[in-house]
């Protein structure tokens, strides 16, 4: 089976060295420039990661690994009542790899409820495998808000 029935994987190339990219995951002032409105972060293992995405949806977790400028890992979920991804329930791993003057940013989000739905059932398995092949070039679709 292709990787990631229960995993979201994304990759992007950024024209900057890893040292310039890394603080955008740990420094509230820089985080604000790409994700969320309000940040409370303590970038060390066990430290809080809390991002108010759009005034309504709040993402929360804890830093697991902070290894500048190579890798940052944090647990993640939404604070909303009844959300299937509660705070800390899933894990986001961000790896920064230099490539010439650029950085390849790879984000892997594990432990999502897609896993809970993903069954032993052949029907779902088949469909998810096709999805994985379809890749990530699709229209992003509805977003939680201005991230």
């Amino acid at each position: 089976m292709p990787p990631g029935d229960d995993v979201i994987e994304q990759e992007i190339r950024i024209a900057a060295p890893p040292e310039a990219v890394f603080p955008f995951f740990t420094d509230p002032e820089k985080m604000r420039r790409w994700k969320g409105m309000d940040h409370k972060v303590d970038p060390q293992p066990g430290g809080i990661y809390r991002v108010n995405i759009d005034g309504t949806h709040v993402a929360r977790g804890e830093y697991v690994e902070v290894n500048p400028p190579h890798r940052v890992t944090f647990t993640w979920g939404w604070e909303d009542d009844g959300n299937p991804v509660p705070p800390g329930s899933s894990t986001v791993e961000v790896t920064l790899t230099p490539d010439g003057d650029d950085t390849i940013v790879r984000l892997v989000h594990r432990g999502l409820p897609l896993e809970a739905v993903e069954p032993h059932a052949a029907g779902w398995r088949h469909y998810l495998a096709r999805l994985a092949i379809a890749g990530s070039g699709a229209d992003p679709g509805p977003d939680l808000g201005p991230s």
């Binding site: 779902w124 999805l131 229209d139």
Partner: protein
């Protein structure tokens, strides 16, 4: 999409999705897997149908349910979109900062 996310937040509903992943089942057959009242099971089924994760058809006096895989694809698209949008914004933010730094250095 919020509807699908909330629908699968409930463990019984995830179990229902597993049950009907392989085969179509009548409401009564689904209910027999749970220690829940029939109305409670019916309520869960309705939530899953409304969220687009289940579809139903009538066969004589029975209502038969089966999984609707497109519902999952929407959920997956939603989560992928969340990070894809985020990373595009990250790229713009970092590259804007690089340009500003270069401009400042040249001065």
């Amino acid at each position: 999409m919020d509807a699908a996310l909330r629908a699968i937040a409930e463990p019984h509903r995830r179990e229902i999705l597993r049950l009907v992943g392989d085969e179509e089942l009548a409401a009564g057959e689904i209910a027999s897997h749970f220690d829940l009242s029939r109305p409670a099971v019916s309520q869960h089924l309705r939530v899953l149908v409304d969220a687009g994760l289940l579809e139903s058809r009538r066969e004589a006096t029975r209502i038969i349910y089966r999984a609707r895989p497109e519902g999952l694809s929407e959920l997956r698209d939603y989560l992928e979109g969340f990070w894809a949008t985020g990373l595009r914004r990250l790229k713009r933010a970092v590259e804007r900062e690089m340009e500003d730094t270069e401009r400042a250095t040249r001065r």
